[in-house]
């Protein structure tokens, strides 16, 4: 099980990076970055998990009941929301590149040709 979890993390990270390397399209590149980033969420949440433990919320659960690690969860939740706006910024930059050079293929955009 341990190997499977870490393999999923490495695989999601790797396909994101592979996509970014061979990307011919800036919007595709931005989505590859989100995929890569998602691997860190899986890693954080998987590391904080404990067998047989509940959520770290003690509303109707007795204090002292086994609960998963709350720190990695708080890191993940803020990051998920913030990453959406950062991706929006990257997409806006891609659209700006398209407006200026009529292409979103990184190989066709050259600052030297301006």
């Amino acid at each position: 099980m341990t190997i499977l979890v870490y393999a999923v993390v490495a695989w999601v990270f790797a396909i994101g990076i592979y996509g970014a390397i061979v990307s011919r399209n800036l919007i595709h590149l931005a989505l590859c970055l989100t995929v890569t980033q998602s691997s860190t969420y899986i890693l954080l949440l998987a590391i904080g998990y404990k067998h047989g433990a509940g959520a770290p919320i003690f509303e109707d659960v007795k204090l002292g009941t086994a609960a998963v690690d709350p720190v990695v969860q708080s890191l993940t939740l803020t990051d998920v929301v913030v990453s959406v706006t950062v991706i929006a910024l990257i997409l806006a930059l891609a659209l700006d590149v398209h407006r200026q050079s009529d292409s979103i293929d990184p190989d066709e955009i050259s600052t030297l040709n301006r």
Binding site: K50, H51, I57, V81, T85, A88, L89, A92, D107
Partner: protein
């Protein structure tokens, strides 16, 4: 693969090999799945409820134990929204007289019901963030999702009531500013930055959390406004120009 792609792959290969080695080294020392004993998390699970009177430990971490870090996150969010606005708003002309009404009554009716349901759900998520699963970040996203559904369910003209820069920009600024203001208020009162001034309240109720409640709502407003500003900017720049003219 084109030759450029092959070239890029060859350039990336040594870096990735190094990275894979570091990753493998890290994984070899990582805890077995389901057997993690982080001292910090275990400690917080025991002391957060008696110490901070918030039954949701995750929210207590976001707005109290790591409250300063969350302020940084909030300003990353704010800065990227400002960046999107700078890139998109400057170059577009104001769109007028365009509409793309949704023709189906069934979709409109169901959509408007769902707007109400999602809005109430979002407000509930944000309001009870310190008690049950939820919080300002999640609630803000849900609230924005509910409002943007107006566009999908009923068309551009109805959406334009909410999706206006002059309406949304103040909320975006207010959300970011009030988080910092809560922190500075503590400084003025002679306590550390972001210190809880309002008392802790009763755990498990809406009156729990003190200053954390204010921070929670500041983030909810900030996140909801940020998402709506982003929807508005992309819609106005790239969808509205293609709407049929009336």
């Amino acid at each position: 693969m084109s030759s450029r792609q092959r070239l890029r792959a060859w350039i990336a290969a040594p870096v990735l090999a190094l990275f894979a080695a570091i990753l493998g080294w890290g994984f070899a020392r990582a805890p077995a799945f389901g057997d993690f004993h982080g001292a910090y998390g275990d400690l917080l699970n025991r002391i957060a409820v008696p110490q901070r009177h918030t039954s949701n430990v995750v929210t207590a971490i976001v707005f109290d134990y790591r409250g300063f870090d969350t302020m940084g996150e909030e300003f990353i969010l704010f800065a990227s929204v400002v960046g999107v606005v700078l890139l998109l708003r400057a170059v577009r002309e104001p769109a007028t007289g365009q509409d793309d009404p949704v023709a189906s009554d069934a979709i409109r009716l169901f959509g408007i019901i769902m707007v109400a349901v999602i809005l109430v759900f979002g407000l509930w998520l944000a309001a009870f963030g310190l008690v049950t699963p939820g919080g300002g970040f999640q609630g803000g996203v849900a609230i924005a999702g509910g409002i943007v559904l107006v566009f999908l369910a009923s068309g551009y003209r109805a959406w334009r009531t909410f999706g206006r820069e002059r309406l949304l920009d103040p909320f975006e600024g207010l959300g970011a500013a009030s988080y910092a203001a809560v922190g500075l208020a503590a400084l003025i009162a002679g306590a550390p930055f972001l210190h809880n001034l309002l008392g802790l309240g009763v755990a498990g109720t809406l009156r729990s959390g003190g200053s954390m409640t204010l921070l929670n709502w500041a983030v909810a407003v900030e996140v909801a406004a940020a998402n709506l500003v982003l929807y508005t900017e992309f819609l106005e720049s790239y969808l509205v120009p293609h709407l049929p003219r009336r």
